[in-house]
Amino acid sequence: MKHDEALFQYLLRLGDSPLILAQRLGERVGHGPVLEEDIAQTNVGLDLLGQARLWLAYAGEVEAGFAAAGRDEDQLAFLRDAGEFRNLLLVEQPNGNFADTTARQFLFDAWHLRLLRALAGSTDARIAGIAAKGAKEAAYHAERSGDWVIRLGDGTDESRAKMQAAIDDLWMYTGEMFAPDATELALVEAGIAADVRALAAPWRQHVDAVLAEATLKAPGETFMQQGGRRGVHTEHLGRLLAEMQVLQRAYPGARW
């Protein structure tokens, strides 16, 4: 794969995860358990959407270097099919109950924060800049979602059971966060991409510390689902995209 094509693929991976998670959090607008949480969750969603825009805009510019024409951020977000999305399987999982939403957010945030901090040292100045900006937001996200895991885990019997079930259910989607493919490793070699393998130990430490404080158990060794990087997704992504993309699909080029 040529350098530009590899970089394009990598930028899609960086942009698609926050984009899809933002859409999931957007589904929560008006459905938060309390007003304060409703605002907080959608704030996080908007932060992630802002980051996704920066990554996808850059991806489109890089694409123009090797394809007939580069797509803009909207075309990339609204006109790709599920098989062309490169997000983590974790972020496309449904909102479920509040513990499910919280667990998904926490497992992602603890990884995302470290990814962005690592990318802030990228030799690609544009990537480094976007990552440095996003890392400040991600630090708050991780603190907030971790706080909720602790409060629900170390809460009532019911909240504890739901929080444990949520962590157990989502655990199998955490493996792919630390499994780079050849495309990514070539960019790591060039100092452009972050080596996600190095994030595994600190992520696990962070997660274990929060789970311990929450009186929850980390799940044992389990089969890890993978596929997001290759566009092989769970059944949930198609339905999410149907809702996210319906306007641009029905009225191509619509603006407001």
Binding site: V34, L35, E37, I39, A40, Y140, E143, R151
Partner: protein, 93 residues
């Protein structure tokens, strides 16, 4: 959530010296009260510092005591510094 206590939120703005009361919100504990206040009241760059105080811990004067507390001051106009002749040259007073 019914048992979540109410918190009064005070924000110090970019150029303000003192924290000002901006509103109230519900949160399960002090830590989450600060985080909720961050999300509810500082979304538009309003502040550089947040105080959260449990509403139950605020001691307020009773509306029924209004006469006893505040009316005696009404008839004491001499407490306002309005009886001094001011030279014209002094501005901004």
């Amino acid at each position: 959530m019914k048992e979540w206590p109410l918190w009064e939120i005070f924000i110090r703005s970019q150029h303000g010296l003192a924290h000002r009361h901006v509103g109230s919100l519900h949160a399960p504990d002090a830590g989450m009260a600060i985080k909720n206040a961050r999300d509810v009241y500082t979304r538009r760059n309003e502040g550089v510092s947040i105080w959260a105080v449990r509403s139950a811990d605020i001691v307020a004067s009773a509306p029924g005591d209004r006469e006893a507390l505040f009316e005696p001051a009404n008839s004491k106009v001499y407490r306002h510094p309005t009886f001094f002749p001011m030279p014209d040259e002094v501005k901004h007073l």
